[in-house]
Amino acid sequence: MAYALQQLINGLTLGMIYGLIAVGYTMVYGIIGMINFAHGDVFMIGAFVGIIVLTALTGITSVPLGLLAAFLLAAVFCGVYGFAIERVAYRPLRGSFRLAPLISAIGMSILLENYVQVSQGALERAIPNLIPGGFTLMDENGFVVQLSWMQISIVVVTLIVLAVFTYIVTKTPLGRAMRAVEQDAKMAALLGIDTNRTITLTFIIGSCLAAFAGVMFLLYYGVIDFYIGFNAGIKAFTAAVLGGIGSLPGAVLGGLLIGLIEAFWSGYATVAYKDVAVYSILAIVLMFMPSGLLGRHEVEKV
């Protein structure tokens, strides 16, 4: 029981991080029907901005202030990156054939990775655990279930970020415009919605989410390198597809499911094949629900 609880905690924390990145994928897909493969690398840039800010501020300000600065600056930087990426790599190709922006996105991803590698070095960078400690949840026959403050903050921050974001999409004029563009960009433009501006803002918001995820990844694992965006990006993309790409709650659900599958598979079966387990379940789900768990079927409007 205690052991299962510990694995549940492990899986939920990991799943929250996947979910937060997955939301960025799903959002961009929802609005322009394109997979933004550079999203994982924006996440990585967020982590790097975080480590630069935290290293610079260590000893100057208190930890909470430093964290706040790291989150804000990472969001600002990544927002600018998101804006620039959309302008440079995607907008000129928007009217082009479907695969063109996809290839452009892969190119952007490689560019960002190499840019960070050259400017920040190829070595891994590490910070000490800034939110140490936690508490013992239960102690069963010597097996101690630990819940760290870090894990609690990840879950709390993710939930807050997602709540704010859901509010934006469902309740604000911007959200309404986003949903309108998602349903039919041409019709939305005819009705007076500035589609370019809406798409740009979607990219900026998506990149801010990636920045939050990046800083949280940095805080939780403490170690980053220029390559983290790739692995995390692939898993988050899988989460988005599993949950139904285009669906926001689906992305979070997909992330949580993958985190839990990984934890419980490692916990009760073999550690070596946990990725096999994740992708097998993805394949099975897609066989029976081709649009993912919470995805909608595309209705062709005539």
Binding site: A122, L123, G134, V144, D225
Partner: protein
Amino acid sequence: MRKLLLGTAALLALSGPLAHAQVKIGVAGPLTGPNAAFGTQLKVGADQAVADLNKAGGVLGQQIQEIAVDDACDPKQAVSVANTLVTDGVVMVDGHFCSASSIPASKVYTENGILEISPASTNPAYTDNGSPFIFRTCGRDDQQGKVAAEYIYKHFPKAHVAVLDDNSTYGKGIADQVRANLAKLGFKVAYNASYTAGEKDYSALISRLKEEGITLVYIGGYYSDIGLITRQGAAQGFTPQYFAEDAVVTPALWQIAGSTAEGMLMTFPPPAEKDPAAAKVVAELKAANQDPSGYVLYSYATIQVWAEAATKAGTTDPTKVAAELKSGGPWNTVLGPISFDAKGDVVNAAYAIYRWHDGNYAVYAMKP
């Protein structure tokens, strides 16, 4: 067009002898990626060796030109950079670092008749293929794994031991050696597992180790993953005795793990920095603000043995140098005298036990 090409070729051919005679050697290692700390060690050692040799007049009157390439410890990239080095016309390669790179690259070098001397690849399969061009200046994992297993058997007879590996050629290779040697000693391993190198989240694995009641964890893997394991272990209140191998011999481990790596044991050849032959080189490296630890001196020695053998053979022709390396010797290096056996392995390679303490590692026991 054709005339122009011929003309250029003729010009190039004419200009050849005017330039300084040079002999090219390659240095191949992970300059980027999760093992970049080791690529740097290889390059620092090679740079220093080439600079020292060139200062002393080069090899057979030819200056040495070093070409450094990055294999990122990726087997595919290793083959591709090996081909680049072949095209560049190198006669010898100092590298690669990871066994997963050295082994596939060795086929390219063997086909093209180029020497490959690895300062760090310890997987037995590297020299077991019987190629005359393949050497190493480090030990083998069947030696290293035996030392680790005997140490565990003698000093932790009551421990609940888990043996983990990262599924890489090297990591799984050494872990399997430890498993086999422990089995031979009649020691029962409580838990075995493989993780994927480059994974960031080990919390599920750590909970599993806790559940299995593990008190000693042997890990065959590289420092970046091992550092994360100790770090995440501490966060869950799991603090066993860790035991690793020669792929954690870099301060980068401590940067990742911090004090959670305190007391970690590892196997590595006996210290070379203290060797009198090494003192001068170590002083030079320290003066240049370079850390002489880990595989730096192994990389230095790799180029040294090649230069000595080439000088003795009177040619840089790889076939003749390879034969000379095995029949001549012992070669004087910063690691002390080295001789090679028929396979290209170092004769009488030894392993000692080191212990991490407060950000540094030091010899803990010379023998198990």
